[in-house]
Symmetry: C2
Subunit: 204 residues, 2 copies
């Protein structure tokens, strides 16, 4: 690979590029392009972005109930009167909440674990918001816990662990269906997905 | 296209995503991912990035001689004793300076025009740093001006305009060679490039 460090660049610009390059989605080259574009739009973009970063860093906190990121505590979703408090959808990260909210397919409440169990990365049950989930699941109004974790080994291990922890509580524990993605081609699917889609087949 | 706005997101996070999405290289989805990653690394990345943006916005200026962005004025390249002051390479933008510096193929000085002439975008000669270029070209030590503008219509129009403006000054005006890119395949080249490569052919 060609070295894309820039000689004869001021340390201030170099530092800005370094930090931009650490942002997911931006490689070193695109960080250089971004830095230049920002320097060209100093008042319109660069300074407002700096302020937005500072403001969000200061004000955004994890909701003490569900763990979602918000400036309010409890968060907007937890305190919403229009969302169904009987169903809690358990996700690994805030990004999963956003994915579900974008799709607009879920109108209950969320619980953000803050990751999944992982022997490799050293994530243990006490690193996740499991205790709070058990506490919320025990509330009289809660009827169902939907476990919506990634269909990876770590995600499924975590799902099993949660199912065990939720045993004995009077709630239905469900998980997302496996199957053929809508718009997906059979030819391109892996064996595990095909097996799951076949064994969970449904009558027309 | 699916709407990727997020309902039930706090205005502070929404504003951060909006501004990140305006940065070239980041679309709306990647801006959402970036915002989450930043919120997770508050002290390690988010606050330092805000500070770097503020610092660069405050300190980085266009060099009063060549127009390059630097915290010093004259910039590091203009004031360098080891670079050849006899040759000035004229480029449209700071990104072009970085491209040449990355390649490490040029050891003279630069002149950053700040764009190219464009009837469509309303860029006129007085919007570019042309006067300063003529002034620098007239300095006794300067022997050659290399015009290194993009091989686009606007770039070539600007190159011709500069050649006219530099007429009568005792300097050689040259331009980058057109031809087959190193590693490029003939089959994939456009007619214009093939014609240029053929008519500028050189003996082995």
């Amino acid at each position: 690979m060609r070295n894309s460090r820039l000689p004869s660049v001021s340390p201030e610009i170099e530092r800005l590029i370094d930090l931009l390059a650490k942002t997911p989605g931006l490689g070193r080259r695109s960080a250089q392009r971004a830095a230049l574009a920002l320097l060209k739009k100093r008042d319109g973009l660069m300074l407002p972005l700096a302020q937005a970063l500072n403001e969000a860093a200061e004000k955004v906190k994890a909701c003490s109930s569900c763990g979602a990121l918000d400036t309010l505590d409890p968060c907007a979703i937890c305190s919403s009167q229009t969302r169904d408090e009987k169903i809690i959808c358990v996700v690994a990260d805030m990004g999963d909440v956003w994915a579900l909210e974008r799709a607009g397919v879920f109108r209950g409440k969320y619980h953000v674990l803050g990751g999944v169990l992982s022997a490799l990365d050293g994530v243990r049950p006490e690193d996740l918001r499991v205790g709070k989930l058990v506490e919320r699941a025990s509330l009289p109004e809660v009827r169902e816990i939907i476990i919506a974790l990634n269909a990876t080994v770590d995600g499924q291990t975590t799902a099993h662990y949660l199912t065990e922890r939720l045993q004995g509580i009077d709630v239905v524990v469900s998980r997302l269906a496996h199957g053929v993605p809508v718009g997906g081609e059979l030819e391109l699917l892996d064996d595990g997905t095909l097996l799951a889609a076949l064994s969970s087949r449904r009558p027309f």
